[in-house]
Amino acid sequence: MHKKTIRDRSLDLFIYLFLLLMGVVTLLPIATVLSKAVSDESAVISGKVGIFPVGFQLQTMKYVISSSQFITSIGISILVMIVGTVLAIALTALTAYPLSKRYLPGISFIMLLFVFTMLFNGGIIPNYLLMKELHLINSLWSLILPALISVFNMLVIKSYYESLPESLEESAKIDGASNFTILFRIVIPLSGPVLATIALFYAVYYWNDYFNPMLYINDAGLKPLQLYLRDIVMDADSSSALNKSADDMMNASPEGVRSATVIASIIPMLLVYPYLQKHFVKGVLIGSVKG
């Protein structure tokens, strides 16, 4: 090991300080929203709340978390995320496997069909009509099914499969393993990291999805969190004030409530992310080294 010179050290120090500063800067907006959520409403209105709360209180948070619409929405979001991710990862992994076998007849044509959907699709209205004819409007399946296989994610898994040494499968075949045994006992266990990464992609997609529920869900009892949030945050937006009657103005949610809703809605993701991120980083790294 070579010794660090003073110049190296001071450079290190500078880099650390700079990164720390950047980190703090990205946290600032969240900090403001957080302190608005736990501050006294009149302090929020008079613009006194910056990074730190003024007149600390938890009433607003309590009010938001106990609101039945909020609980329903978060439940819907979690359900869609779990069911969607599990199904999506299973189907994507199963689709990618045969496509990674170049020797299967007609495989390049089938591949073409998949890639075609990456470039062209029906558009909003045809999709809507499709969902309607399938009787999926106002059903949570309308949020899950359209995104089950993302061709891009499928290609990532497929190229990972392709990077596994062929001799591994050959030797298993010689030992008498069937195609299923090979897939489930050799290929899938070896693909853990890439599957975890793609699962995270899917989970984040399902969690953040706003557009599909906006189109397909009309029943307030089935609205996922993103839709609920958008409605709440828009509520006091003055750009829509033209449409508002005196009654709507009287009932608009105060800024504190909106901030508290935003904070409450990121809590589940905050809890899950540290655990997933470990896999996330590992998955990308291992893939690149081996590939």
Binding site: G47, N179, N218, A220, D235, D247, M249
Partner: protein
């Protein structure tokens, strides 16, 4: 190899089964998360025969319509079980277009009554997406005929036929100037009643420093969206977007009073009496300046009074504030803009499966007692009635009737304005603020939007928003001195070419016939 293919086929089949079985499982599983639907439905004894279930689409609100107490009451009273869906808060027009285009079988759809939604409604009606309501009303709508203002019904017609039940807006003055009373006392002045007095008061606010902010006092703060300051604009005879000038409907920019207004306001600005950051102010920034005690006056909506007053007294315990009356201009002109028009429009799309039931349901909601209970609740439970005044009982009134206005599909236009006051009386400060502008001020200061009940005017609707923004920006620049009045003619030419001329002609063609 053949063996392998068989296996792959099996795998695909198994995969397919896997997905379908999950679909089946979860479609049973999902309802556990949706809120339990209203239990009161079962013990409705009055209903003799099962009535068809109606599906309606409503405007967004915070609470779920289906579990809201008003929904339960209406189900009991009308006997119709109704499923309420709602449009999103963000871009409801887009979603509405998709739903109408795809023929979603809603039995009643309620939308806003503002210009842009009125245009959508006319468009649907002309394209044949809606059911003509006239014959249905004749058969099933005696209450609709009896209680809804005929003028509103007339104005909701498209090409002479009625396709929607209008809910009339309660005509309110909403915005005026709110002043710090304690500052007035400190500078020993009375609340201003004319433009000259206003200037004098603002000057005193700036020079005598009643707020103790030194040279940081802001005599008057206004949000940037309000290019025309209500109340001040009224003193120049231009309270609304369009006003009658010698028998012609005239937009503000073409009004001869426009120049005087701009001169007055830019003079305030030059003297430092109007917030320096006027154009950049958001609604929230203006309120911050006022509630933190930096500003002496603010342009404020009465619905904001309780929150603003709370925040103000928390920061400055001795602070007192109230509205000023309508200011008089040089020839005694004064006016506060009052909203006039539709609050809601309710229509029945062609895709509806039960149009007759939908009409019966709308009619039943206008039954006198049902309507009263739907909007403000039950006597001595939700409100008390004394000398013709409805006073809410809190907190049950707010809990169970706060969102009642969203259930309106047409209103009893004679009585609703009276019932409605109960909603304002839930906070006395709110009520006083509303009462001051709407009841205590002389009646002639309340100037209703003359275009409120105009029929759908395509040219006007198309360019209304855009022209308003254009004129607003230009006016702001004049106030700041970034543009000079010498360029007004050039701007007017531009205004006319970008739809102003066409709107003007269209509006006045209608106005000429309407005046008769």
């Amino acid at each position: 190899m053949a063996m392998n293919y068989k296996k792959w086929m099996m795998a695909t089949l198994a995969g397919g089964l896997f997905v379908t079985s999950l679909v089946a499982c979860s479609s049973n599983g999902t309802p556990s998360i949706t809120p339990a639907s209203n239990p009161s439905a079962e013990d409705s004894k009055a209903t003799t025969e099962p009535k068809s279930e109606l599906k309606t689409l409503q405007i967004w609100q915070k609470d779920d319509y289906n579990t809201y107490p008003v929904a339960q009451y209406l189900e009991q009273k009308t006997g119709y079980k109704v499923q309420y869906d709602m449009l999103p808060q963000d871009k409801p027009e887009d979603k509405l277009n998709i739903l109408i285009a795809s023929g979603e079988p809603y039995d009643a759809i309620t939308i806003f009554g503002s210009t842009d939604f009125k245009a959508l409604y006319s468009d649907y009606a002309q394209k044949g997406a809606l059911i003509e309501l006239g014959p249905l009303i004749d058969k099933f709508g005696p209450n609709i005929k009896a209680v809804i203002d005929p003028e509103a019904l007339e104005a909701a017609k498209v090409d002479g036929k009625l396709y929607a039940i209008p809910t009339k807006s309660i005509s309110n003055v909403n915005t005026s100037l709110y002043i710090r009373q304690d500052w007035l006392e400190k500078v020993n002045m009375k609340s201003p009643t004319t433009l000259d007095e206003l200037t004098a008061v603002l000057k005193a606010f700036k020079e005598k420093d009643p707020g103790g902010n030194g040279d940081k006092n802001i005599p008057l703060t206004v949000k940037g969206e309000a290019a025309f300051i209500d109340n001040i604009a009224g003193a120049f005879g231009i309270p609304n977007f369009w006003n009658d000038v010698n028998g012609k409907m005239t937009p503000r920019i073409l009004d001869p009073a426009y120049i005087e207004y701009v001169n007055y306001v830019s003079d305030l600005f030059k003297q430092g009496l109007l917030d320096k950051e006027y154009a950049a102010n958001k609604d929230a920034t203006a309120k911050e300046k006022f509630t933190s005690g930096k500003a002496g006056m603010i342009l404020l909506n009465w619905s904001d009074v309780p929150t603003i007053a709370d925040a103000l007294t928390k920061n400055i315990p001795t602070a007192k504030a109230s509205y000023i009356s309508a200011l008089k201009g040089k020839d005694g002109k004064a006016g506060l803009a009052a909203f006039r028009g539709f609050d809601r429009l309710t229509f029945i799309p062609k895709a509806s499966k039960h149009p007759e039931d939908a009409m019966k349901w709308i009619n039943a909601k206008l039954e006198k007692e049902t309507f009263l209970n739907m909007t403000i609740g039950e006597e001595n439970k939700h409100y008390t009635l004394k000398d013709g005044t409805y006073t809410p009982i809190q907190p049950i009134f707010s809990d169970e009737r706060n969102a009642a206005n969203n259930f309106l599909t047409g209103s009893d236009d004679t009585n609703y304005p009276i019932y409605w006051q109960a909603r304002v009386r839930k906070d006395m400060r709110l009520f006083e603020a509303w009462e001051f502008m709407n009841k205590k001020e002389p009646a002639n200061t309340k100037v209703e939007d003359p275009l409120g009940f105009a029929p759908y005017l395509p040219e006007f609707s198309k360019s209304f928003q855009q022209l308003n923004t254009m004129v607003g920006d230009y006016t702001m620049k004049l106030v700041f001195g970034a543009e000079q009045l010498s360029g007004l003619d050039a701007f007017i030419a531009k205004f006319k070419s970008e739809g102003g001329e066409a709107s003007y002609n269209e509006v006045n063609d209608w106005y000429a016939t309407a005046k008769k």
